[in-house]
Every structure is written in C-alpha cells, then in structure tokens.
C-alpha cells in the first residue's frame, strides 16, 4: 500500500463524520422513540453528552487485560468494518475487501464485547453473552440467505460493483426476489442493531444491560462510540446493499435515516422476544422467505 495523503485525510474525515453521525443516529433513535411515546425526549445530540460524561468519569476499574481489550478491539473492528465500505463517493479501502469480509467484520465487534463481558465474571454479563450469541446463531441463517440472494443476483462480491450495478439497473428492492431478501434483512437488521423485539442481549429490565453491565467510565465510553460507528456502518451497509448505495454523503444519509426509522418504528411497537422464541422465529418465517429469495435468484 502506498502512503496516500488524500486517503488518510479521507479516512480521518470519514471517521469523524461517521462517529458524529452515529451518535446523532442514536439520538434520533431516542428522540423518535420519545416522540412516539408523546414525550419531548432528549436533545438529538444527547448520546454525545452521555459519551463525554462517561469519558469524564474520574474513576475506572478493570477486571484484567481482556476486560480492557474487549471494548478497544470492538471499536477497532467497527472502525475497520466502516472503512471497508464504499461510502457514497468515498471508496476508502473498499476495493480491498468484499461483501463477505465486511459482513464478517461487522460481526467481529460482537466478539470484542463478548470477550470483555465474559472476563468481567459477572453472571448477568455471561447471560448477555449467551443471549447475544444465540441471537446471532438464530439470525445468521436468514442474514446469510439475504446476502446470498444479493450476490447471486448481481454476480459479484464487490460492494463497489454492487453499488454501480444498482446505479445502472435501479435499486435492488425493485427486483421482487431482492425485495424478499430486503424484508429478511430488515428483520435481521433489528437484531443486528439490538432493537426490540430482539434487544434480548441487553434486556435492561431483566439482566441489567447484559454484556455492558460491568462497564463504566472510559470503557463504556468506548463501547458507546463503538455502537455509534457500528450503527452508522450497518445502516450504510443496508443502504448499499438494497437502496442503491449513494453518490454523495447526503443521499447516503437520507437512506440511512430511512432505514433507521423503519427500525425505530418496529422497535417501538413490539415487546421483547425470549431467546428461544427469537430463535424459533428466525428459523421460521425469515428463513422461509430467505430461501424463496435465494431460489428465485439462482
């Protein structure tokens, strides 16, 4: 790799932008939820304040090296996933990796969080880990099917090419099979960003935030940042795969927010599944729809 000043600047800029927008997305989430519940809700930049406050805690504890390393690794992996996405007119590193790599990178942060949570030794955290992994097991099949449908339809793994093809032939969701895939992906998306009805992982009222329970101060701040970056990356991923990508950041932003709003609406209506219900659900309808989608695209 040649050292490329422009690329470095782009990366830094994109990181700042994505983190900021990710926080804003989290704010939108809270705000929209509040509005749906007829509340005023916090200011839209509230997550930034929260993160700053957490970072500004004067005390910090640790349960060992891995406890600290987990969140750092998670944030690192989220950043990595982000940088391998073609974000509007910024290609960044996306020519170096393709759909499968990104799909994997988007899951890696989970492992970081799990590592940290497990090393804290708190049983609630462990329960959270268990639920997180089981959710992942449950959702991975329909998720995979949706991705397969996309790849089979476009015949390429390169995200850049997928976007380009959509620019030419219209958005993916205009294709019936991919519309089905999109429905599947949207259901899975709910679990990916940890919203109801699949917020089984954190389940605040049951297992006190699950994996995050033992985190406070700077580690929690890192986790919040990670969540912001991850949220940005995942919405962008959705937009790239199904909504035709974007030619500039604004278009991308609009699409991301659209995706986000669907998720928020769904989340504010449904109560939480138990974990075995979630597994059974994912292996029933989304899988069936996913199978139809992939068979249509063979």
């Amino acid at each position: 790799m040649n050292f490329d000043v422009r690329l470095v600047l782009e990366v830094i800029g994109m990181l700042l932008y994505a983190t900021f927008m990710g926080f804003i997305f989290m704010g939108i989430e809270r705000k929209a939820m509040a509005r749906i519940q007829r509340r005023v809700g916090p200011p839209i930049y509230q997550p930034i304040i929260d993160t700053l406050k957490l970072l500004g805690k004067k005390e910090s504890i640790s349960h060992g090296f891995i406890y600290d390393f987990g969140p750092i690794f998670a944030l690192g992996a989220s950043i990595t996933a982000l940088l391998f996405l073609p974000l509007a007119n910024f290609q960044l590193f996306s020519s170096n990796a393709d759909l499968i790599v990104v799909a994997y990178l988007l899951e890696v942060p989970m492992l970081g969080i799990m590592l940290g949570a497990m090393s804290s030794g708190n049983p609630y955290s462990a329960l959270g880990v268990q639920r997180g992994l089981l959710t992942m097991v449950a959702m991975q099949l329909p998720y995979g099917l949706a991705i397969i449908a996309i790849v089979q339809h476009f015949g390429t793994f390169k995200l850049g090419e997928i976007v380009a093809l959509q620019q030419v032939h219209g958005w993916s969701i205009l294709v019936p099979a991919l519309l089905l895939a999109m429905i599947v992906f949207d259901i899975v998306f709910q679990a990916m960003i940890g919203l109801e009805p699949f917020d089984i992982i954190t389940a605040p009222a049951e297992i006190s935030m699950g994996p995050m329970l033992e985190y406070g101060g700077k580690q929690a701040a890192i986790l919040f940042t990670q969540h912001a970056v991850q949220l940005f990356a995942e919405t962008a991923f959705f937009a790239i795969l199904f909504l035709g990508g974007a030619s500039n950041l604004l278009e991308l932003l609009i699409k991301q927010i659209a995706v986000l709003f669907i998720a928020i609406f769904v989340a504010s209506i449904y109560p939480r599944f138990t974990i075995d219900q979630a597994a059974k659900f994912f292996w029933k309808w989304p899988t069936i729809i996913g199978i139809i989608a992939v068979l249509l695209t063979v």
Partner: protein, 627 residues
Amino acid sequence: MINEVPIILFVPIVAGILAWVLDVKGVRELIGLAGAVIPVAYLIKVYPTVADGKSITYALTLGSFNMSFTLNTMTWYFAIIGAVLGLTMALGMVSTAKSGYNWLFALMSFTAVLGVFTAQDFVSFFLFWELMTFASFMMVLKYNRHASLKYFILSVIGAYAMLLGIALVYARTGALDFATISQVFAKDAQLTGLSGMGYHATLTFSRTDMILLFTFFLTAFGVKAGAFPLHVWAPDAYSETDQSYTTFFSGVLSKAGVYGIFYVLLMMMGAKLYFSLGTFHGHPLFLYIIAWIGAITVVVASFLAVLQEDLRKLLAYSSVGQVGYILLAIGTGTALGFSGALFHVLSHAIFKGLFWLVTAAVILRTGKTRFEDFGGLAEKMPITFAMGLVAVLSLAGIPPMAGFASKWLIYEAAIQAHMPLVAGAIFLGSALAFAYVVRFLYSLWFGQRPSDLDDVKEAPAPLLVGMGILGILNIVFGIAPGLVVEYINKLFRKPVITGNYYKMITPNGTYNALSVTLVLIAGIVIAGLLYVYGARARKVPVTDTYQSGNPVTEEYNLSIRRNFYRPLAEALDFWLKYSWDRFYERLGQLSEDFADVLRKSVYNGNVQSYSWYLAIVLLILALWGVL
C-alpha cells in the same frame, strides 16, 4: 543421493518402536521427538524440488504388489501439514505421554498418515489406511473401550467399503496403481461422454459400477473425515485419548478422508462419475451429494458442539463440523472451491491442532475436562490463554487469521457455484462456531476461578513451543494467505486465485489481509487513545461485580458453568430427540442380540438338529439340480 521418501515415511515408526522398546523416561521422549523432527526437516529439504513440479518417487515390491510413494506438489502439501502437526503432537507428548505405548502408536499413525498421503497405488494406500486406523484405535483403546470400539467398527466398515471399491476397480481394470487407473477412468469418461451423444462404446465401468464405487469410497472416506451421518465416532474418539495426540488425530487423520475424496473420487474418477451419474441443476450429481453431506455435517456437528458440556467433546464436534466445511467446498466443484478446501485443510489443521494442544495443556495442569470445573485460568496460564485466543480467533474466522482466509474462499466458492442453501449452511455454521468458541473462552479462561485451580501452573515448555509454532503459523498464513494460495495455484497449474502475498483476488471478490490487519490495528490504536485518555483503571476482583447489590465471596459460584446454551437446547428440543449415535448403538445392540439368537438356535447343542442340517444340505443339493 538417498531417496528422501522412505526416510520421511519410516523414520517415525522406527522411532516409535524404539521408544516403545526402550521405554525409559527421557530417552523415549528424545527418540520420539527426533522421529517427528526428521520428516519435517526432510520435507522442507525437498520443497524446492517439489515446488518446481518435479516429484520424488520411491518404489518397492511387497507381496508381489508394486508399491510406490511419491512426493509431488499435491502430496507434499498434505504431507507437510501432517508432518508439522506431527511435530507439534510430539512436542505435546513430551509433556503428556506417560508411556512408550503412546509414542509407539502415535508415531505409527504418523507414518501411516504420511503413507496414505504419498501412496501412489491402492495397495499401499489401503495398507497405510488400515495401519492409521489401527494405530489411532490403539491410542483410544487405552483410554476408553467403548469409544474406541465405536471408532474402530465404523472405521473398519469404511476401510472394508474401500477395499470392496478397490477390488471392484481391480476387477475391471486389472491395475492397482493410480496412474494406470486414472488413465482408464479418463478414457472411460470420454467414452461415456461420447455414448451420451449416441455413440456406442464398450465401457469399462457401467453406471451401476460407478454408483457402487462412489458409495464405497464415499463411505470409506466419509467415515475417516467424520462426515454426517458417520461422524458419531469422532466426538468420543477425539476426546478419549491423549489430547496431544488428538492434535494429530483430529488435525491430520480426518484429513486423510478429505485427501481420499479429493484424490480418488475427484482427481481419479471425477470425470467418469460426472458422466455416469449425470447432473442435478447443472451440478455434477456426485459433487452435489458431497456438498450436501458437508453442509449437513457443518450444521449438525456445530449445533451439537454448542450444546456440549465437556471441553474435549466440544472441540471434537467442532472438528467434525470444520471438516464438513472442507467437504462442502469440494462439493462446489469449482477450482475456487477446491482451493478453499485445500486451504481449509491447512488452516483447520493448524487452528484445531492449536486448540487441542491448549486443551492438552489445560487438562495436564488441571486434570479436569468438564466446563463446570474450569474458570478463570487466563491469569494462571497467560501464554496458553493467548494461544487459545489465537485459535479461537482463527476458528471463528476473525479476519486477519488463517481461519478466515480459507473460510472466505469457501464462502465465495459456495455462493459462486450457485448452491445457495449450502452456502446458507456455512453462515449458520460460522455463527455456531462463534457460539461454541465463546463457550470455550468463557468457561475455561474467564470468570471466577474454582478454588481448587488456584495453584495451576503455566503449561510446560515443550507444549508451549508446540503451541507457539502453530500460533505463529495461524497468524502468518492469516496475514499472508498468498503464501498458501500461491502453492495451491501450482497444484492446479493455473492461477485460480490471483493477487500477491497479502491479497487474494477471486473472479468476483477480493480480500486483502494486510490492509484489513493494518486498518484493524489502526482502529485499535484509535480506540486505545480513548482508553489512555480516560481515568487509570484499578484492578478489582471478580467478587466486586454487580450482583443486584448482594455481597458475595469467592465461595459463590458466579459463573454459568453448566448448560450455558440451555435456551438453544430448548429451541431445538424436537431435533435433539433424534440421535445418530443412539441409532448406531441400538443397531449394534440389535445385531448383538441377533448374534445371540443365531448362535443359540443354530448351534443349539442337539446333534440331531445338526444331522438335520446335513440332511437339508443334501436336499438342497438335490434341488439345486446337481444331485
């Protein structure tokens, strides 16, 4: 010049016999280690020759069978994997093996596996195959009779199926060496293709023959590879033996099955099978079957791995599942798929070998195997833990690791081959893999440490060296997958996957391991800056956690040690009612009962009935028309 092949082949077994005969502590370890190092050294020595596409052949005649062993591009690849794993096994066994018995049979299986990989004719192939089965069986027999018998029965059924296949090939072609048989098959495939187009030709192998051959060989290799539904031996056998040996057992012996499928079913009779058995939705039917077997193996074994309560069982099921990936990749039927399979052979060997070495170290130091007895070992065995973490990352397919590179190829191959459901199985399988490695991490290394593990020490040095070798390989091949891919390209004599050392480019995808690594490191650095800026962390014990405000002491059990994935079991309770293991057990029981009935009714002790048998035979003779 002395031919290297016999040295590589026979040094281990000779060393094993010496170690067994001398059986003095210290001496046997030295001999055994030497027996494992020499093949590796010689294999590395012949690398330039092999990489040039030349081959080294060693032939001998035994029992008027002409046997030959060749190191060429293909066999060297498998042989070096076997040899490196064998070396790490030997390093592990320096610490874990308590008797010459273990050395004898471990090194015997070493020789046998190398023999299977290099054999160029069916007799030596079968001979070493049987030897391999036998040696590994003896390793299990010492620890558990039931598990070993299950293993042996299934293996022997497989081996005999292979023998039938070999005999059938011999009956039709009159040859036993691979070269001639390959030629016959190739020619026959051409003729079959022609006769499909209305051209009449006398075929050496009929369609029935090919179905039989396919069944026989698939059974044989499927058993060894642990393919569903013949996988039931694997969990028991892998767990009930010296864990250092399992490094080799699960890392390499299962690959013999893969090698068989690859070499015999694909390279030797692939074209013929394709023409004889036809296609299904555009895929060669026989490959389609292999792919589905692989997919089902992945899913079933991974689910079972997630639900295990025993460390060794978990890893054993995981091995079965990972071999499923390889089968699946072979089943895609594309050059990309084969490359993925070959790469995964390597990466599974190194990460699962590493896993088993870690397990060996843990079991050696703690003497426990069940998850409920472990916890918090990361502080006590930090290096072992680091190696375990490398293995976990590699198995779970975290990008800059060898495991990801090969899995990525398999994903690409499966999706590009338009086998969507099979590819879906990989997605599910990889999520499950994630789930079970986390179980491994959580129960062993994290959480509260049971008080009886307080004086656990770090693993002994030889084991650490072995782990180090495999750990470094995992990282090196992860960051530079091109090293392997380049070699695999040589096998196909064309660049299937292009790119450089760090970058793999398939027709439709790219993966640059180095850039992923660098970006990941950069990301971690950025995150680390945040961490450094925050308040200095204070170390607190595990009891200082939120337990709803309750005060706890170390005497409380704060870890979820049992039934970690209980909800999954509940979600799957319908499927868990059925078990192939139980099915086979029942079948075995039934046949034993049948044997009893048979023996008691036939040999009933009454000489008059015996006389009746004679009379009946006379009657049959008369009816037969000969009397």
